[in-house]
Symmetry: C2
Subunit: 377 residues, 2 copies
């Protein structure tokens, strides 16, 4: 968490009041919530009335996908097809898959190229072939390799057929310029802890006239779209973090891009048989590599022992590690995907962090490669 | 929030780590989460594996009701009936009503007597008439008038027909003795901020072998029942608050009951034409009155101006105040219901708080009654 967001949250934890109640303490809490809502709206270039606060980015994605699907199918039962990409986060893939398995939805996962960019021509073909589509949902930027998606084109194509578009912008918000209004998108997901805000808070930004079915029913908070007592301390901290991310967007992006360029060049120079993955049009904070012949999980553990955190993107299902679906969708072989590793830079990363990584990466990869050869004997 | 829970949360906000990730910081966060889970389990007399952490009590109720409904209907489409009570919280009523409107569920709202206690004979008749029931959900104690429900009998009757039972224990947990294991109930909802823990956290306690369909899909946290990054600071604070509520259950209950008895006797003596509502078998912290001829909303505002918080339980829909559905279900006329007011005692309430209320209540009710007469002319 950023210091200012944490300080705001700690202050608010010492106060009381239910933002939905009528008393003095409730009115104070309501004011805190509405000020935070305004800050979030400014940061994403939306109106305060378009911000629907949720308990997480995952919840916001579930709300967008199920909520839009149910509403569209109610309008016309034939609108039961969802179009998405093959590189979505599980918080998008899994709600869709549930709608398919449980509610009779149809789904089309549009492929990506070897730089993890959606094949827009395929999307166009799919929509033209059968425009009875409930929604299109494509992430703003991929969380594993950072590639920005051609979201403007996607929106243009979908809107031509009156199809609403949602984007999971959890990774992108606060990292790249993002205007809800200029995008003319229907719904967009953000999350607190990815921008220096707290865990347990997120939001779905929803066009004012867009109808969607709630996922959580109850007290009718958030214009009846999302029920549950408002979490004033987390909301206030999210407002602070959003404001901060917005104010520092370009200097942070410039700094992180420079650090990443340095990191990438030095890692590639340090480690033989290594390559970096992704696109030039990418998030500033993600560096992604394949170290042929080394197991990603072994690399992760060896680096962790040196105090360096990384991620393989692999999912462990019933004790059997599976390679990242994103890397497979990019056309990597399974061994290549399993030899891949992501480093994330935050706005508080320093060149000393890069130095620390570069000083150990060569030895770590060498050790992991030797271990892989031993275990194959 | 309790001081100890707040201090734990503030400490945790200064730390990092995703409880689902493999690095050192992730392992530390995972340990914090699991220790909190154990504390919650001890407090509710369940096993740690039965605790499914959610973002709120509302979410836990939605998960229990929709999750059980979907699973039961999947097993047998005829099991599409939900039995509940006429005095549930909106976080139970509204998910049920949505299942009726949207998913073809049938519902039976069992009536209560004039003390807000469920008519068990009616419940028995309803189940015997047609035992194809997805679930029975009845709150452990009513949130407006405090009446404890005959939950043991309800569970006994439902289980005779193999029907799972859920209870919304948000109001009761930490206030009255509650053993998940001894109750032999299938699912039970608790919430953080009602026991001195933080907002934005709750849990559904679920029998280990009970299957239910998730409401939020994604990363597969919480045994694949509830996805979303775990909110370690809030979870740690919930663990502390749960432990504390458990350790102080009887001394707090004794103190609050004594304060409430004092409050009730003195308010009734102070205000002519007043009566208290509810049952002898009740939560220790709720005092509920009807002040005939006074508008509850006027009382609330006048008391708020004196620094005293109360609640009418009324819902404001499109600017038109409607009387509490709980009071109407108890057989009150609409004017009676609208002349009613709840006071909640917390574990940190004092006899000075009671004195403050008693010293103003007579004048406040008199003023509200006069205002009511004026507005009728």
């Amino acid at each position: 968490m950023s210091d200012t967001a944490r300080i705001a949250m700690v202050d608010e934890l010492g106060k009381i009041g239910n933002a939905s109640s009528l008393h003095g303490s409730g009115r104070r809490a309501r004011k805190v919530v509405e000020e935070a809502r305004e800050a979030i709206a400014r940061a994403i270039d939306a109106t305060p009335g378009e911000i629907v606060l949720t308990g997480s980015g995952t919840e916001a994605n579930n709300l967008a996908i199920k909520g839009l699907y149910w509403k569209r199918v109610q309008e016309d039962p034939a609108n039961n097809r969802i179009i998405s990409s093959s590189i979505e986060h599980h918080a998008v893939m899994d709600p869709i898959q549930w709608l398919v398995d449980h509610e009779g939805a149809r789904v089309t996962w549009v492929s990506v190229n070897d730089r993890a960019q959606l094949n827009v021509d395929e999307l166009v073909d799919e929509i033209e072939r059968d425009p009875k589509v409930a929604l299109v949902t494509v992430m703003f930027a991929n969380n594993e390799v950072g590639t920005l998606q051609p979201i403007t084109r996607i929106i243009e194509v979908a809107h031509k057929y009156g199809i609403p578009v949602h984007t999971d912008a959890v990774q992108a918000f606060g990292k790249v310029p993002l205007s809800f209004e200029n995008l003319d998108i229907d719904a967009l997901t953000i999350s607190g802890h990815k921008i220096g805000g707290p865990l347990g808070i997120g939001a779905l930004i929803v066009k004012k006239d867009l109808k969607l079915t709630p996922v959580l029913h109850g007290g009718g908070q958030e214009r009846d779209i999302r029920s549950g007592t408002l979490d004033t301390p987390a909301i206030r901290a999210l407002g602070v973090a959003a404001q901060e991310a917005h104010d520092h967007l370009s200097d942070r992006a410039v700094r992180m891009s420079a650090l990443r360029a340095d990191l990438t060049a030095r890692v590639l120079a340090e480690v033989p048989d290594s390559r970096s993955n992704g696109d030039t049009d990418t998030l500033p904070g993600i560096a992604h590599f394949t170290f042929a012949g080394a197991e990603g999980d072994a690399l992760l553990l060896l680096l962790d022992a040196q105090g360096i955190e990384s991620s393989t993107g692999s999912a462990c299902s019933a004790g059997v590690p599976r390679p990242s679906h994103v890397l497979v969708a990019m056309g990597m072989s399974e061994p290549e995907a399993r030899a891949s590793l992501r480093f994330s830079l935050g706005f508080n990363s320093t060149s000393a962090d890069i130095d620390a990584l570069v000083s150990v990466i060569g030895g770590v990869v060498e050790r992991a490669r030797r271990a892989g050869q031993v275990s194959k004997r």
